[in-house]
């Protein structure tokens, strides 16, 4: 058997803090990156932060339906994949026109 210290569980707040930090990093990346693919990576990080949060709540929440959170996380993963696929296809389409995927150079439409 494992020693007692290894069996102790991580408290909910710690996982939530992890989720919040991941979400903040993702949001920062999404807002600051110049490259469209980089923005997309930031968004993926945000979605995974959501998954961490959902799973943490699903583990700790006292309710008749705690597994809702895990089901939710599966849907988040799938939708994230769909969004990423469309985004990459659009990035390819833009690259064919402009030879760039840098967002600050994609500026035909503004104001």
């Amino acid at each position: 058997m494992l020693p007692e210290v290894l069996l102790a569980t991580v408290p909910l707040e710690h996982v939530l803090i992890l989720g919040a930090i991941l979400f903040a990093i993702g949001l920062y990346l999404a807002l600051s990156k110049r490259n469209a693919i980089g923005v997309l990576m930031g968004i993926e990080l945000m979605l995974n932060a959501v998954n961490v949060t959902l799973l943490a709540f699903s583990r700790y929440v006292v309710s008749p339906r705690p597994l809702d959170g895990q089901v939710f996380a599966i849907f988040v993963i799938t939708v994230a994949a769909g969004e990423a696929a469309v985004a990459l296809a659009l990035a390819v389409a833009i690259y064919r026109h402009r030879e760039t995927v840098n967002i600050d150079e994609i500026d035909v439409l503004r104001w």
């Binding site: 945000m46 008749p64 339906r65 969004e83 659009l90 026109h97």
Partner: protein, 495 residues
């Protein structure tokens, strides 16, 4: 479960039609792609017919274990979405050949986006809301870039990246809502705990987490509703996306977002709970900011689609007035604010579709969206110009149009909810908006066009749709009672 499948019929019909269109596109030769439009409209009609039968048989209920609801609210919006999608498909018959070999995708994606909106109107579970929201959004991202031209791709990429950030923000708020309530059901009918019952219990310990979740949800849905400060994508997408898609987005996407916001905030959070005042104040401020920024930015636009984009931001501010004034009651139980939002959305659907389709009919022949090129359009394209003028009057909120009744209705709600400052802001903004709306009218009727082709012909189907839209705007401007009653019945399900 199977016993409730018929309540899900309209959505299923639209989705199945989308699949059929996609498959039929593979075998239909290019000359006959218009058949696909016929198939799409037939599917929409079947869905509408099915819904009528459901209503006649009184099948309204919460179903699929409370994750969906067929109630007066969802029925109202499903009819609205079917009408909007059908109108846009018929009006775009003239435009569709521009999609080249992607006409089938255009119709299929329109149907998929519509089915997502229909699901959103009835969704009562956070997972269902999220999945239907993404079904709508992803279809719209692709639609915006379907022409694969320079501007369209740019608009689509911007729309997608900002939209994905908004989805992530919504999800984070939903995750906390799940953590607070321990379930993703907004409301339950069998007495099981739900988000609404948890909030109604009013445990002070959950207040801060609840407000965090509320702010995240409002920010994310604020993007979908196109309110300041989440409006950046609106003018770009309205200008860059194909015109029928922009018309569809400006009406359908906005109505779906407001429907789901009403579900979550009015039905879930509730207007009279211990966080009720918090979200009402939040929406009041967002409303004021949206109206001011949208109108000021619209003043300096030279492209009519960009102008309509900023005007839609300002209109979203008007709708939010209704959300802020949700606790004003009439007949003792019907929320004036909420029914005002629903009524306003329906009239706005007619008005904005009319305006966008008129713009499409004109620009399809002149190949320009610059307001300066609308000079003398009153003579060059009498019917589209007249409808555009009428719709712009309605957007401004002048009688005898539906927009006038909607504004009066919603401002009345705001006054009764003691939001006089908001009404003053809104009325001042209406005055500002008259400048740019009527500027287009002046260009069309008072300027003369020299050296420009004299006549701009629009196809009969488009002209017919335009006349129907204008008739709708006029009818509900003169005799709005039936629509108001329908809107009141729709929001009574929350009361």
């Amino acid at each position: 479960m199977l016993a409730s499948l018929d309540r899900f019929g309209p959505e299923l019909a639209v989705m199945a039609t989308a699949g059929l269109v996609l498959l039929a596109d593979l075998v239909v030769p290019r000359r006959h792609k218009a058949w696909l439009a016929g198939l799409s409209v037939a599917g929409l009609l079947a869905a509408a017919l099915w819904l009528v039968i459901l209503v006649l048989r009184g099948r309204q209920a919460s179903f699929f274990d409370d994750s969906m609801a067929l109630d007066n609210f969802s029925i109202f919006f499903i009819f609205l979405f079917i009408a909007v999608c059908g109108t846009v498909i018929i009006a775009s018959l003239d435009y569709a050949p521009r999609f080249g070999s992607h006409q089938g995708e255009f119709f299929a994606l329109m149907l998929l986006a519509t089915s997502g909106m229909m699901l959103l109107a009835g969704a009562r579970d956070l997972v269902t809301i999220f999945v239907s929201l993404e079904l709508t959004s992803i279809s719209q991202f692709i639609l915006a870039g379907l022409l694969r031209d320079d501007k369209g791709s740019e608009a689509a990429l911007k729309y997608l990246l900002l939209g994905a950030i908004a989805s992530a923000v919504i999800l984070y708020g939903m995750a906390f809502l799940f953590g607070i309530a321990g379930t993703t059901r907004l409301v339950t009918t069998n007495g099981a705990p739900s988000i609404a019952s948890t909030i109604a219990a009013g445990d002070a310990g959950i207040r801060s987490a609840l407000i965090l979740s509320m702010v995240f949800l409002a920010a994310g849905f604020g993007f979908k509703m196109a309110v300041v400060p989440f409006q950046m994508w609106t003018p770009d997408v309205y200008q860059g996306a194909p015109t029928p898609v922009a018309a569809f987005l400006s009406v359908g996407s906005k109505a779906a977002a407001f429907a789901v916001v009403l579900r979550i905030f009015y039905e879930g959070f509730g207007p009279n709970t211990f966080v009720g005042n918090d979200w009402k104040e939040m929406f009041a401020i967002l409303a004021a900011v949206s109206m001011c920024v949208g109108n000021v930015m619209a003043l300096r636009q030279t492209n009519i689609r960009r102008m309509l984009g900023y005007s839609s931001v300002a209109q979203a501010g008007n709708f939010l007035v209704g959300l802020a004034a949700i606790s004003a009651l009439t007949n003792g139980r019907t929320s004036l604010g909420a029914s005002g939002v629903v009524f306003f959305l329906a009239t706005y659907a007619f008005t904005n579709l009319g305006a966008f389709i008129a713009v499409m009919a004109i620009s399809n022949r002149t190949d320009s969206d610059e307001i300066a090129d609308y000079a003398g359009m009153g003579r060059r394209a009498p019917i589209p110009a007249a409808v555009l003028l009428f719709c712009l009057l309605s957007l401004t909120g002048l009688p005898p149009t539906a927009g006038f009744i909607a504004k009066v209705y919603i401002f009345n709600a705001a006054v009764q909810a003691d939001l006089v400052w908001l009404v003053i802001v809104a009325v001042l903004n209406t005055a500002v908006s008259a400048f740019y709306y009527l500027g287009v009218a002046r260009q069309m009727y008072l300027e003369t066009a020299e050296g420009l082709p004299t006549l701009v012909r629009a196809p009969w189907a488009t002209q017919g749709i335009l006349v129907v839209a204008a008739m709708g705007v006029l009818t509900f401007g003169v005799y709005p009672i039936p629509l108001i009653e329908a809107a009141q019945r729709a929001v009574n399900v929350f009361g």
